[in-house]
Amino acid sequence: MIKEGHFGSAEAFCLMLVMLTTRVFYSSPLALIKDLGTAAWYGTLLSCAVSLIFFGLLYLLMKRFPNQDLYQVYETVTGKIISKLLILIFSFYFLYYAAINVREFTAILKAYSMPYTPVSILIFVFLLVVIAMTYVGLEGIVRVSYIFFYFIMCGLAMLLLLAIPAYDFNNLYPLFGYGLKETIKIGVLRSSAYDEIVILAIIINSIYGLKTFKRVGFYSLILAGLIISVTLACILAAFEYTAASEQLSGLFQLSRIIYYSRFFQRIEAIFLFIWVFASVITVSMAFYLAVSSYCRAFKIKNHRPLLFPFAALAFMVAFIPRNIGEVFEIHVHFLRQDSFSIMYLIPLLVLIFALILGKKGGKAIE
């Protein structure tokens, strides 16, 4: 097994919050506002609430098997062969997640900032940084996220505050968007957008067990929901649901309209910095989990020799979408709206099996 190191709840909280909120920099606001209109800001809270329920069920599963991480729980409940299959599904999912996130990142970067740089160069360079982060291992990624967390959150808060003159909260009417039924439906489906919280169950042994798992999980989910909700409300207040459902990155557009005087304008560089930091951390973590899950499935002790092969795979997966339409409408849509079928349903099925078969783990070590 890979030695993953240990870190405290603050570090775990920062990692989870960065991973859960990175999507506001991407096309997530566009998709949500397109589907939910003026109800997008509370539609995401609904997704968050559904994720909290799933997280509660995940907590029940992890509580049943103290001192075991999610993959060990799979093995205890489903046996060696099926658990290996489940871990591999997670490994491939994380690889796909990392690759599509890189592709989404480069698609937006090309649209706004680097129109003539080939996608391959952007992805290649990005993956080199990811490899360097992953080489150091889980503890390294988490500690980097702990450092950059403050920059990312301060930058985001600064952007939202500086854009205050552009806000008109009357733009949040009609209150029910495209209808309450649609809001509930999309809200529930988009709980996938918060399914990174399952990662906590995979790294539970590095965060000193169940107590931290529960505390970090609940708080990071609630805070991420609030941050995303406030950001969506600000985008809606600035652009109305009509223009906001056209923009590739609502937050980037928001940074472009900040104008106080001829001396204080054009501050989107702040956005680019925090966006890059958040993306590198998120993709590195997903990439690390892809490699480490693979190592767990085949009992490989050192993940480092696998970094370049996995990076090559991620590079290829990133090129599956032929155009920006496919990136958003197929792949990102799957990650943010359908991925709960992997991230939530598999642990849920394992919990059901454990209950039916009456399987339980040992006692918790205090």
């Binding site: 360079v125 009609p174 472009r256 001829r262 054009r266």
Partner: protein, 438 residues
């Protein structure tokens, strides 16, 4: 991984990171930054596009403006800038065609204004606004102007007469919206989103070129000074001489992508008061107690206008409440209105003037244009549960039917440097005082 491998990896990483930017590197000297973009109706092709960009020469006077204020019509040199016009199938193709004819690439990243000719705006600006909104270079913070006459001629008159920095001059000219209220300050981002929204209609700055032929000459020797009146003036027709020929004066009104009309400078002030974008301005009002005299008030908005909306028997009813603070800037009649017993009368009269002005302005947007540039629709939207209901109702269609109540409160707070007014004393003074309070 051994030590040397680690060092090699670090070196590769360090070199890779900056290299990714090289593809998009653009030397400042390889580009010229358009400050103004003008769009006119084409003759042989879809659009006639005009760009104004700096010549990068030492000073405006050496940049072609020899003799001060002039320009070289053939090369388009104006006040240290070049004004180039091209007829093209689209705005962006126009940029490319001018690039081919010059030695620098035109960049739109620093464009400060987008000017449409009125003729073009009345046919619809959608096609080109879409291009600007989608294209990465143009900024959302540039201003949108509709000018009487050709956009090309308007941009030819875009000169910096005070100071040598034209870019600074352009930005400061828009700040005059806050200092006068004679025109709205319209950013491209707002203009574009207003074209899409069901809450209201877009508006732009209305402008013109003044040929200085509107200052009337006095032909009668014994002519008395006329009474002060707030005239409605079209852009480019201000009675003045000297200074910039460019004039931002009024509001252009759009229905969707097409311009349908305009508001004069006085109506624009009432419009800006109604939407809470009026910062301050001087208002001259005839003194009803002494005809031929006026008083001048410096008016600021005390707080954001309060708007509420509801339906009464299917008719939309909107209540607009505007609170204004005013300072007395001048009382030509020298009637001491600042006294406690008189100030109420002045406030009441001023309130009536503003209320009437706002009502007439709103009525004009309703009856003449049916364009809700006030965006009352945002409050109407609160009466609908879903977007489908709002869009099916189509507030923009029903705006003309709305009953709009305007309530203005004016509080005169200060009197300038005076507290109390004494009459002028002359040989005719004594029993009969000039300008005394009745």
């Amino acid at each position: 991984m051994n030590r040397s491998s680690k060092i090699i990896l670090i070196i590769i990483l360090i070199f890779c990171l900056p290299l990714s930017g090289c593809y998009d590197a653009a030397d400042v000297d390889e580009e010229v930054y358009a400050m103004a973009i003008g769009i006119d109706k084409g003759v042989d092709n879809a659009v006639r596009v005009t760009f104004q960009y700096p010549t990068y020469k030492d000073s405006p006077s050496s940049g072609g403006m020899k003799g001060g204020g002039g320009g070289q019509t053939e090369t388009g040199e104006v006040d240290g800038t070049l004004v180039s016009t091209v007829e093209a199938p689209s705005l962006l193709e126009g940029v490319q065609m001018l690039n081919a004819a010059g030695n620098r690439q035109i960049s739109l990243t620093h464009a400060k204004m987008l000017v449409f000719s009125e003729e073009f705006a009345r046919e619809g600006v959608g096609k080109d606004v879409e291009t600007v909104a989608r294209y990465r270079e143009a900024r959302e913070t540039m201003r949108v102007i509709v000018c009487k006459g050709k956009a090309q001629d308007f941009i030819m008159e875009n000169k910096s007469l005070i100071g040598s920095n034209l870019a600074k001059g352009i930005e400061l000219s828009f700040v005059q919206s806050q200092n006068t209220g004679y025109f709205p300050d319209v950013f491209f981002a707002n203009f574009y989103s207003n074209m899409l929204t069901p809450y209201g209609q877009p508006y732009a700055i209305y402008a013109g070129v003044n040929d200085f032929q509107h200052l009337p000459e006095n032909t009668q020797q014994d002519n008395q000074s006329p009474a002060p009146i707030e005239k409605d003036i079209q852009p480019g027709e201000t009675p003045r001489k000297g200074g910039s020929k460019e004039e931002l004066f009024g509001t252009a009104i759009f229905d969707g992508e097409k311009m349908v009309g305009s508001l004069t400078q006085n109506e624009t002030r009432f419009f800006l008061l109604g939407i809470g974008k009026f910062k301050w301005g001087s208002f001259t009002t005839g003194d009803k107690n002494k005809p031929g005299y006026a008083y001048v008030l410096d008016v600021i908005t005390a707080r954001k206008p309060q708007v509420s909306a509801h339906f009464e028997n299917g008719v939309p009813v909107i209540d607009l409440k505007v609170d204004l603070d005013a300072d007395i800037a001048a009382i030509q009649s020298r009637i001491d209105y600042e006294k406690v017993e008189n100030i109420k009368e002045l406030e009441s009269y001023t309130k009536d003037c503003f209320q009437e002005g706002m009502k007439k302005t709103i009525e004009r947007t309703q009856k003449e244009y049916n364009c809700d540039i006030f965006h009352f629709g945002k409050k109407i939207a609160g009466n609908f549960k879903t977007i489908q209901e709002l869009e099916n109702y189509n507030w923009l269609k029903h705006y003309q039917e709305a009953k709009i109540n305007v309530d203005v409160t004016v509080n005169i707070r200060r009197n300038g440097f005076f507290f109390g007014t004494r009459p002028f004393f002359s040989t005719r003074s004594g029993n009969q005082k000039e300008g005394n309070n009745q």
